[in-house]
Symmetry: C2
Subunit: 513 residues, 2 copies
């Protein structure tokens, strides 16, 4: 099928990073804003985020959480309380120092020296400390536990090198924060929310992930345990798509989150936090995109079916629009993947072929085109975005009867959702390597002239402290990081490839975003 | 009914401001965060906001808008472009000057002098200028118009005196921004969105409003026309609950939002912007609250029906819960006000009577209590929040049959929604005064020892410039402001009460939040 003329100018196999940028632009997902490190999320990109939000919010509420909203500003002194948390975050935060601008007499505005804040405020990079303050107010007795909260918010981390969706100074996310009476319950909850993320990634985003615990050096600042879901992108790199942290009593100690137990004793709460962000959209692009643009899984597609009448600016247009409207109305009555089908009849000015390619690049799951001849024959011309090209290198149009198409849509959408997941899972599994058991072998594997080496699972002795630092340093030379310790792995049966000691668990190492 | 023991300690008639604070606390809507001027919105308050968001978002999408997301940071120089806009906003904004904290060697963190921003960034107080930049990029030809965008976001305006929901430094809102080919279309759109706000306020929030144009002195900084919806609170004061602005070409000029017309000429777009915020919740409180707490209109109630089993920590509890669960399941299958009924079975520990009063204060529309005797008799005990007290001064419980209650719920909820609106509209109408035709008369009216004088409609000659300033100053002495020029008013037939000239329109003057 080499005679295909793809819709993008860059192929994944030629320059994956460049391809990623082109998808974002060609699918009209987002753009640079002109404000350092901040992007504008455009309607199709934001529409995908709204879908992810709604589905994940339902899952979060089903597990007993209420949404709240906490201040965007955090007093600087809050960050001084939890030592590791400071080290982890103090380096890259937006600091508000003034509350007024004033004209400087040269036609410019400057921060008003008379309006300097006594204590600078930090734009939240994450909300453990400010929510911890609230928890300390809200929790008195064991009856108040568990306290299960969540918020949808923007956060800011000043990043030196930014990349749309993957690493931006401002991003959108949800952050869940919970307090529990003991470690067992808090750890269970940490894993419960990790499972929510796994389900959201795999079922909603059709993005297969590996869930597991992060090694000590990759823990969230202040956490006792950090767990993640990791997805493999089409270039074989790993994307950390969500994290869930068991924070022990570190933040409770710092903020005074205490409760009176059933036995009447004052005890510290055990807390958790967990978040996923607009980074997920970067994962969707690099999991499902192809050389024609994005392919959006139907479950998170803002519109699942697009109908394009081939308008000619002539008399027949009204009939054509009426015909298409009839198709639209029939499809809108269908349900698929547990919800009403989201269908759009697009009658905006523009050539039908140009509009078709716009929606191909956007990755709308099903595109229906209707021209005068289709109308005469009582059919529609339909494209599946996940099976765009026919053997002959042309778009693979099918022409179901107009009166049949609506009934076929639910099955088609469910099939596309499944196909996208299966393709990604098969590609991921084909790029997991498990038979390397020496450090040299690992180096050879990643130094070989292979474009997308994927991930390697090795066994290790779980070193800590300086011994772990040495491992991290060695991996860094190979541009590798430890992703996580996959859950439900088979028992270990080898020596640690770093220390030679008996292995205690398996880890994935990979290049990563 | 003077023997009623109300659920709040402060009555509206005794101290309205204090009552307002008590409702917020007693209904567990929000609390001070400890961060200056920023509040924490708690689950029941945020749940109301989520309902408003979803309903208004549907209305905004129905009128053709797409949601986007724009950066929270706006370069300072953006504010220098539109002169009036600077004057209006430059005074009270959070200014980010540094992007890193550093330890000062005394165990404290300070803004890192090495990380001072070249150009300070302002935390958005509103987004006309940054969205204007995007519009200038997005719009080339008449085919790109109208451009209809909206965003849900947090904004910050540094307020000296804050009040929860009504005036906070950070608040949540939606801001719509549109660009059009000409003034006529842009003005039509300004009014279309005002009508969306009217419908949302009256139909969803059951809060009657008067829609009209603001006078020149109350215009949004940079606007050509500002329209508002104004609601009357129970103390007779006005609350501006939403505004819609026709911005002319002011922001287009500043940001270069131009298009090529069908005739091939380069022209400036005419833009609009419009917003409503979490302030709406303050309006709901002061419209529907009573001496027992909040009363939430069913359409925006996070939970419309609460079921409280009177648990005794004994053997019979399981049967009681099963009985209640059956009621819950039957109610959950009902639809009311166009959606599935939102019902909660609350089995948390705590005495049933205490929990009942919690939900009374929260304003859940229907509270169902079930005790052992109810179960024996095959009934439930039901309270309507809008008709809480019986003639004898006791809670007015009704005891419908268990198997009848579910079918009755939709009608009850619709009736409560209607009742709340009708009560508010009747109270509002009873407090509109229209027979004052001199300034002295106006002064006497508002200086009289009347607790809640309400609003007065007068006729005026629509003075401008210094003549208007004199009017505004006079009104200020009476603590009055001009609210708006109500739409669809009868023709004028008197002299202007300020200037003595023939009147050209009617205006409402009132004390306001």
């Amino acid at each position: 099928m080499s005679n295909i003329r793809h819709a993008l100018s860059v192929k994944r196999s030629d320059d994956f990073a460049q391809w990623y940028q082109e998808v974002i632009s060609a699918a009209d997902l987002a753009e640079e804003s002109g404000v350092r490190g901040c992007m504008v999320i455009k309607p199709w990109g934001y529409g995908i985020w709204e879908r992810i939000q709604r589905l994940l919010d339902d899952r979060i509420k089903e597990t007993g959480h209420d949404n709240c909203y906490f201040p965007i500003f955090i007093p600087l002194s809050n960050f001084e309380r939890e030592a590791e948390h400071v080290d982890g975050f103090a380096k890259e935060m937006a600091v508000v120092t003034h509350h007024r601008l004033v004209a400087n007499g040269k036609g410019e505005l400057v921060p008003d020296p008379a309006a300097k804040l006594e204590e600078p405020l930090v734009v939240r990079p994450t909300s453990e400390t400010i929510i911890g303050d609230a928890m300390a107010r809200w929790i008195q007795s064991w009856r108040d536990l568990p306290l299960l909260t969540n918020q949808w918010a923007n956060v800011v981390r000043w990043e030196m090198r930014t990349r749309m969706f993957l690493r931006t100074s401002e991003f959108l996310w949800q952050e869940g924060h919970t307090a529990h009476a003991d470690a067992t319950e808090a750890k269970e909850h940490t894993l419960r929310m990790l499972e929510v993320y796994r389900a959201c990634a795999e079922e909603d985003l059709a993005m297969p992930v590996i869930a597991g615990e992060k090694p000590e050096n990759e823990r969230f600042p202040g956490a006792v345990e950090t767990w993640s879901i990791e997805a493999m992108m089409q270039d074989g790199k790993a994307l950390q798509a969500g994290t869930s942290h068991y924070l022990g009593t570190n933040f409770s100690q710092a903020a005074g989150i205490k409760f009176q137990s059933q036995e009447g004793k004052e005890e510290l709460c055990h807390t958790t936090s967990w978040g996923v962000s607009t980074r997920m959209i970067g994962g969707v692009i690099m999991t499902h995109g192809d050389d024609d643009g994005l392919r959006v899984p139907p479950t998170i597609a803002p519109r699942q079916v697009i109908i394009l009448p081939m308008l000619r600016g002539k008399d027949g247009d009204d009939d054509l629009i009426a015909y298409c409207e009839d198709v639209r109305a029939q499809i809108a009555q269908q349900s698929a993947l547990g919800e009403k089908v989201r269908v759009l009849l697009d009658t905006k000015p523009g050539k039908a072929a140009a509009k078709r390619w716009d929606y191909v690049r956007k990755g709308a799951p099903i595109i229906i085109e209707v021209g005068g001849r289709d109308m005469e024959n009582g059919v529609v011309s339909m494209l599946r975005r996940d099976a765009l090209w026919a053997e002959n290198g042309k778009p693979d149009f099918h022409t179901p009867l107009k009166n049949d198409i609506a009934a076929e849509i639910p099955q088609l959408l469910e099939d596309i959702q499944k196909t996208l997941f299966t393709q990604a899972a098969e590609r991921r599994d084909a790029n997991l390597t498990r038979d390397i058991d020496t450090l040299d072998g690992l180096a050879d594997f990643f130094n070989a002239d292979v474009k997308h080496p994927g991930w390697v699972e090795v066994q290790w002795s779980k070193p800590t402290g300086s011994e772990l630092e040495a491992v991290v340093e060695k991996l860094k030379e190979l541009k590798l990081t430890i992703r996580n310790v996959p859950m439900d792995s088979p028992a270990v049966d080898r020596a640690c490839i770093f220390t030679g000691k008996p292995a205690v668990e398996r880890i994935f190492v990979a290049r990563a975003y």
